[in-house]
Amino acid sequence: MSSSPAIPMSDKVNSETVRHVAHLARIQVADGEVEAIAHQLSKVLGFVAVLDELDTSHVEPTESTIAPLSALRADLPQTSWSSENALKNASDSHDGFIRVPKVLDQGDA
């Protein structure tokens, strides 16, 4: 069970939180935008704090409204995509692979 946050739901989001969340979401946020985003997120969080009015301590959460058995089908081999089709939208590919900047340092390789 995750620990409860120390601050109440309606508390303001500050610049530091915006930068942290933006990093988690891998979205670059310009310094000049941080304040405005903090303000907008605070406003929305203030709005959703209305849910605090409800006592949900004995309510089960709903993650999906679908019957769980829907997913099952026979597990049979099928033809799949060509790598050419799969790679056609990648902006940088080489020899059947997508090319990205080096992930490991030279010393780790």
Binding site: V21, I27, L41, L45, V48
Partner: protein, 489 residues
């Protein structure tokens, strides 16, 4: 022979060689050329592809074949549904130029039945918005008043149907994105029950909420299109295997045994008086036709918007993690590390509302906040679902407005995300509960803007939902009105 106005009639006459698919297609393409400079419903028009398809269909008919239930019917597809015939951008710079390697299940279904795809329609970026203003490629205008929004996110689809550029269009609905633009544009929109229609090829936003559905000129055409796209698809694990009933041939209902549920608490504050009056009048029309009005209560409906903006954004933060400029989309120049590559592409190519929702969702799921935000919302979702279960013990259908106002002016809410979110206050509950709902035209305000009536039925009761909608439509002529700008051509 003149070209019929509805998909149902058009398919019939093209099959009987009374009208050529090519002529119907040309008429629609001509209207797109004439009006889309002003309305901007389309992000891509595939005219050559459409004419080639229509020619092929005419040849098949001439050879004695039956191309299907949508023979020769020109349609449009929301640009978050994958097609191989044209790009799929989701209204985002992130996917500018992206061409899918496969067609969405629903597109396969429609083409298999002889429909002709004319192009892809504008939307709020990744379906995040209620006005079609969040498109990276510019807004769509409402055909009834071009200074106003068409609604969103399926604004291009609804406006294209209203402007008679196509007979029908597919939209997607996560919190009202089919029904609200249908209401603003005076056309019919259906959000099927969760699991009724395959989402293979729909670019995901909120996976526990998203559904694809039709936007059409009347209820019969909505039934026809839903008939074609509904049903099992092994490639979507959330698609239900239940048989699809015969919607088209069961569009009548016994009005004397019909129980219409009216929820008084949803007709109070924040609702435009003309919309309220139109909804009340529609209710009385049902009663005059012999239906029984019953009072229902949805005590948690007022929490739906808050609940939705936590659940949908949490799901979006996960779904949109795939857009990094690596597998698809564009990259930002000069990224030294993979992390910079991801951060720069997302920072530069995603729009403000999309970033805002990803950040909100990431926050709601982040360590220490999960219980208080996401899990809390998931519990409130249970209460909202239980409200509907109780309401449907006494009512066959629940009548509400679709939106609190008619179409608002372009630019009115772009700087106030929260005000924009509240335009979905009546539609969001159906997505959270997984039930089916339709928006049908029920009048006009004094400015001549269309008003929509929302009918909500239990999950997998599309047949009765459509029959009830058809019953209302057969007593009214709102759906026959067309925007002044299309003239009488």
């Amino acid at each position: 022979m003149s070209i019929p106005e509805t998909a149902y009639e058009l398919a019939a006459v093209v099959r009987e060689q009374g009208v050529r698919a090519v002529d119907a297609t040309r008429q629609c393409l001509d209207r797109i050329v004439a009006l889309d400079g002003e309305l901007h419903c389309f992000l891509h028009v595939c005219g050559e592809y459409a004419i080639a398809r229509a020619t092929e269909i005419d040849r098949a008919v001439d050879a004695g074949h039956d191309p299907g239930r949508l023979t020769g019917v020109p349609i449009a597809i929301k640009d978050n549904i994958c097609t191989t015939s044209s790009p799929t951008t989701c209204g985002s710079k992130m996917l500018a130029g992206f061409v899918s390697g496969y067609d969405a299940h629903v597109v396969e279904c429609l083409e298999r039945e002889g429909a002709i795809v004319l192009g892809k329609t504008n939307l709020d970026e990744f379906s995040m918005g209620s006005s079609a203003e969040n498109s990276a490629f510019g807004p769509t205008c409402n055909p009834w008043d071009t200074s106003r929004v068409p609604g969103g996110s399926s604004g291009g689809s609804a406006a294209a149907v209203a402007a008679r550029m196509v007979y029908a269009a597919l939209g997607s609905d996560t919190g009202g994105s089919i029904r609200q633009p249908a209401a603003y544009c005076g056309v019919v929109g259906v959000k099927p029950s969760y699991g009724r229609v395959s989402r293979r090829g729909l670019v995901s936003y909120g996976s526990s909420l998203d559904q694809v559905g039709p936007i059409t000129r009347n209820v019969r055409d909505a039934a026809l299109f839903l008939q074609v796209i509904a049903g099992n698809d092994d490639r979507d694990a959330t698609c239900d295997r239940r048989a699809v009933p015969d919607y088209i041939n069961n569009l009548t209902c016994e009005v004397s045994s019909l129980r219409i549920g009216v929820c008084q608490e949803l007709l109070g504050d924040g609702l435009d008086s003309q919309v309220r009056e139109a909804v009340r009048h529609a209710t009385s029309q049902f009663v005059d036709a012999g239906a029984t009005m019953v009072s229902v209560t949805l005590p948690h409906a007022k929490y739906a918007t808050a609940c939705y903006y936590l659940i949908a954004t949490a799901e979006a933060s996960s779904n949109l993690a795939r857009f990094t400029g690596v597998h698809y989309g564009n990259r930002s120049a000069n990224s030294e590390t993979i992390e910079e590559l991801h951060e720069n592409a997302r920072g530069e190519l995603l729009g403000n509302e999309v970033k805002r929702r990803i950040l909100l969702g990431t926050y709601a799921l982040s360590s220490g906040y999960y219980d208080q935000y996401y899990r809390k919302a998931a519990k409130v979702r249970t209460l909202i679902t239980q409200d509907f279960e109780k309401a449907f013990e006494n009512a066959d259908v629940v009548i509400t407005p679709v939106a609190p106002t008619t179409a608002f002016p372009i630019g009115d809410k772009v700087n106030d995300p929260l005000a924009m979110y509240l335009s979905d206050v009546y539609t969001i509950s159906a997505n959270l509960a997984g039930v089916c709902a339709a928006s049908i035209p029920c009048g006009f305000d004094t400015s001549g803007l269309p008003i929509g009536l929302q009918l909500t039925a239990p999950a997998y009761c599309e047949q009765s939902l459509l029959a009830i909608a058809q019953t209302y439509e057969s007593h009214t002529d709102h759906h026959l009105q067309t925007p002044p700008l299309i003239g009488t051509s």
